[in-house]
Symmetry: C2
DNA sequence: CTCCCGAATGAAAACGCTTACATCTTATAC
DNA sequence: GTATAAGATGTAAGCGTTTTCATTCGGGAG
């Protein structure tokens, strides 16, 4: 592989000059610029960004940490991150935690070894040691989806408690009195926990009792969402409405209900969270809490670059709360007077 | 930031020793290993993988080039790639081409500058200069989704012509005589073109005329899929069945038909391609040609690592054709005898 | 108690770039 | 034609690792 040296020799200039035509073409005579360019062509020179990174201590790379790229809500925000980053000439390294905190820890540390300049992090424990370690080291990062109470943690995302309330409130407004919940295990996802907080708060606000049997915690797959329905339906008084903490679970649940012959929304109402693009196409179209994922990724990256430039930074000024929105579709209906008994 | 040097000084050993405890712990006394480890802790040492990359000429990073991470078919294969790569201790840099060849070219070249060791490439022109440049330079890569005729281009994916035939044949088998097609612009995606080839071949095989008005080329969005319906329906003899070259377009088309009051599948049948996970949830569930995307990504990476180890390599031995599968759901129905007139 | 050999360690060059500083050109003003 | 300043170019020292080769160490055989 040809290096800057080979090019320099071939063009009869010094390496500094070659470097200059690459980085500051203005600081070089048109004639030598041309000479060097020709030499580069001639020996098939490929710039080595690693060496640049070592030398300048700027890798021009950022890391993205998300639970699973396969979930459209995350691929959407990832795209927002990528688009902003690439506009700035940066690349992204993408990793999946699968909601596993140990994996998250390991991956964050590997990313730092790779010398990413900053992180857009969707952490599953926003008050955990990962976030605190980053802060302690003054490492630039911005949180998405999950918010940390730490004043130095930049964040862009939605208010999950409020989102959880919106969904629950809506279901209660439809006269449902037994509203269940299918959630990601709280130990896996803080967002899930927050949404549950909102759920509880709505219940209380409306004078409804909280019944722990009505909330099932599970893992992130369609199948688990489907399975959750089973346990919900074996209850003496099964729910007439179910709030799911993400759309994937909601789709699974819908499938589960259909399979045991429950009509949606006539016999059971389902609400999701995220409002991924596909939710409007499913049958029936899913009522869901919309999160502006692309914007979230974009803005998070915007902030990250601000942190990168201003050093040391004032993260506290960087907390953006975007609005969730309840998108009403046909998966929910008012509770029928005559309760369907099974 | 502490370097290997600081650690060495603190532990009273040479940098070589520190490097050894990192890379070959076996080649070092237990006592010094411990000494060095403590020193690392003490000064908060973070390994610099960039420097390692420069020194060893192995970045332990591969590049993924896809049209759009937001399309589940690509996030699925991306996950396959990531899982295999991370098992090998590699990271991935992910870029989106948006089906733009110029962008693809630029990104591939940037990726090479970043010193990725290899590429998993979904190219939009498999016989274009990008692939040929890679081959000429002996740069390791494997193609996914789109197959190149070049004997040195490794590939894992499906036979798109055959896939296109399967879908079309199925529609024809349902007695449809006017089957339309909504495709990504052929200039954007070779896959789209291949599937169209299959479409034509089926037509011919079944003695049906090819009517260019029946195929509309468009861009990759739900909306464009929807729009395509309009132009199809203004035809004197609109199609009674439509084959879409991907599920996103198919969903858009379904929406388009519904909006003008056409019932699916009674009045018009729709078949897609990719069989993304969501297609089974939509209304009506979409008949589609299944591609094993995760496996595709996984196997492609497997091959890539083989290429990386065996050098120079024999790509010709590395072409894996996975089977597509027609997944029949409820979006298609036999043509009614009495033709619905509009 | 030596001697010798293998294992553990250290010294230093190399990886390909950037950049501060020094040096050399050139054009301008007189 | 010369002095001078501005601009172009060159020199060389890093950046943080790995790795080859040389050196030192420790322990078993004699």
């Amino acid at each position: 592989m040809a290096t800057i040296f080979d090019v320099a020799r071939r063009a009869n200039v010094s390496v500094a000059t070659v470097s200059r035509v690459i980085n500051h073409p203005g600081k070089v005579t048109e004639r030598t610029r041309r000479k060097v360019s020709t030499a580069m062509e001639a020996c098939g020179y490929v710039y080595n960004a690693l060496a640049m990174g070592l030398s300048t201590k700027r890798s021009r790379t950022i890391g993205i940490v998300i639970p699973n790229i396969t979930n459209p809500i995350f691929s959407e925000s990832t795209r927002g991150i990528q688009d902003y980053a690439s506009e700035k000439g940066y690349h992204v390294i993408l990793v999946n935690t699968d909601y596993l905190y140990e994996k998250e820890k390991k991956l964050v540390s590997l990313l730092r070894e790779k010398q990413v300049e900053g992180l857009v992090l969707t952490t599953n424990k926003p008050e955990g040691e990962i976030v605190h370690g980053l802060i302690k080291d003054g490492f630039p990062f911005v949180l998405t989806y999950s918010h940390s109470k730490h004043p130095m943690a930049a964040f862009v995302g939605v208010n999950n408690i409020q989102g959880g309330m919106r969904a629950t409130e809506f279901l209660i407004g439809l006269k449902h009195r037994r509203v269940g919940m299918i959630a990601l295990d709280f130990s896996l996802s803080d967002r899930s926990y927050q949404r549950w907080l909102g759920y509880r708060r709505s219940l209380k606000k409306n004078g409804l009792p909280y019944d722990p049997d009505l909330v099932v915690q599970t893992e992130y797959t369609f199948e688990k969402g489907k399975k959750a329905v089973e346990s919900l339906m074996t209850l003496p008084y099964p729910p007439t409405a179910v709030f799911c903490t993400n759309d994937i679970l909601a789709l699974g649940a819908m499938k589960g209900f259909k399979e045991i012959g429950k009509k949606i929304p006539e016999e059971v109402s389902i609400a999701g969270f995220d409002d991924i693009a596909f939710s409007k196409f499913v049958a029936p179209p899913l009522t869901s809490i919309h999160q502006p994922a692309y914007t979230m990724g974009w803005k998070a990256t915007e902030i990250l670059f601000e942190l990168l430039s201003k050093f040391p930074f004032q993260a506290s000024r960087h907390r953006i709360l975007l609005e969730t929105e309840l998108v009403v579709r046909q998966s929910c209906a008012p509770l029928l007077k005559k309760k369907v008994k099974r």
